[in-house]
């Protein structure tokens, strides 16, 4: 596996909306690098002929009928929101103004 670069960490931090200082970026490159290295030992396991799996249970086609079930009340739905207005979730400005 290619080494994790400082640019990779900055990119991931941006995607995850985590604001990292220059010092934190430097520290994270090292810490994440160690974690990736440890996990990488898994790649030594012999996996020839082993199907990749995405679910621990060998199930397919778990569906439900198209029948309406009660929704939450708007009050209950909005109860956990930091802010609400006009029965809607209020969120900070979406675009950064230039």
């Amino acid at each position: 596996m290619a080494d994790l670069t400082r640019d990779d960490v900055a990119h991931l931090a941006g995607l995850a909306r985590i604001d990292l200082s220059e010092a934190e970026l430097d520290r994270m490159v090292g810490e994440l690098g160690v974690i990736l290295e440890s996990v990488a030992t898994v790649q030594q396991a012999p996996t020839d002929g082993v199907e990749p799996m995405s679910h621990p249970m060998p199930l397919v086609n778990v569906t439900r009928p198209d029948v309406v079930r009660p929704s939450l009340s708007p009050d209950a739905a909005l109860a956990g929101a930091p802010d609400a207005e006009q029965q809607r979730f209020s969120v900070p400005r979406i675009l950064d103004e230039e």
Partner: protein, 508 residues
Amino acid sequence: MSTTTGERTLGFDEALAAYDPAMGLEVHVELGTATKMFCGCPTEFGAEPNTQVCPVCLGLPGALPVVNAVAVESAIRIGLALNCSIASWCRFARKNYFYPDMPKNFQTSQYDEPIAFDGYLDVELEDGSVHRVEIERAHMEEDTGKSLHVGGSTGRIHGATHSLVDYNRAGIPLIEIVTKPILGTREKAPEVAKAYVSALRDLLKALEVSDVKMEQGSMRCDVNLSLAPSGSGALGTRTETKNVNSLRSVERAVRYEVGRHAAVLSGGGSITQETRHWHEDTGITTSGRVKSDAEDYRYFPEPDLVPVAPSVETVEALRATLPEPPAERRKRLQAEWGYSDLEMRDVLNAGLVDLIGETVAAGASPAAARKWWSGEVARRANTEGEDVPSYAARLGVTPAQVVELEGLVTGGRLNDSMARQAWEGVLDGEGTPTEVADARGLELVQDTGALEAAVDSVIAANPDVAEKIRGGKVQAVGALIGQVMKEMRGQADAATARQIILERLGQG
């Protein structure tokens, strides 16, 4: 950012002289299921904000999504109708992004394992030629919430201080249908794009999987377009114009982007691969200015959902439920009804096919069915801003009444102008055609004695005209027929009156 002034564009013909367009169309269609894709919340359009949400579609911790069986069936039927192969095993994936329209911070979609793939749809153009549009894939996903932007000018996202989100729509089943690059269309590119979306809409309507209302957003189109030097066979850099939501706009957006790309390229510039916003009012696109790193969705298989693995039997059972393809049905009906191409096109544009079909099935002649549903009713429906079928349904005017009206004409009780009056009465809510005819005293005089008397008196009053007709100027008879009809107060058959006049004047 101004939305009223576009960038420099080249004329369409000039652009095509130097470049070949390639298109790709992505259509999102909201399924008409009763509930959402992964939860039992209802999907009604226009409900009060956040009244159709639950822990699953709000992405609350610990919620477990379960796939809607009908949504999967609809997806398979759409795939089959588009001549696609159906995956025997496929999964959902998480498409990760941070945007408040998705409370989970990811959209559950299908990534590299679509339920349907490798199909085609043949679309017919105005000139009768057929263009085959190849389908790359049709996959299942879920719709997003709706944002209201506050504090800026007229609800725009730019300049807004904050946004208000309604998650009623979040989680409604969506099928995304993606074409392969559509090549070699040249000057027909805009028309092919429009015809494809139109044919797809007809197909989805016939499948009864969606109400496909572009104006309500239950069917939305993204237009990818690129240009390459004429004859090079290459593919240029593309732009993706989002949310082009009417048939006419699909055509206009293709035309606009062809002109814009050509102006950039011929000026020595290069096209930026980006999202463009379509502006319905001005007919132009503007840059969506999406940062390139925001396109990194880090897809991975959705661990909360198990794979979808339709059996061959399931797929074949669904194939058996497919309706006759709309294009074939149109051809068959046109032949059965004996309509000209123009008549059939008018009937299609007015949305009258089903209504005429029902009327013919109820016993009317195809000509009468077309005549009565496309005249006065169409005019009134148009004034009310409705289509004829829903207008007629609201008024309680039925195919059986058209049959009854035609019967009154063929049975000799009403002539054409009386039938029109009777039909107007029906539309005015005065009752059935027979009731209106009774109430308004509409009845052809069957007693030819009265008609003969009227003819004699008109001939006597117009000796000059009568002499001309005797002398062979048969076309002068029109003037006399008019007077006879007037004398009869319209209660006579004009053809019979003509016959009697000509007999009297030795021309019979």
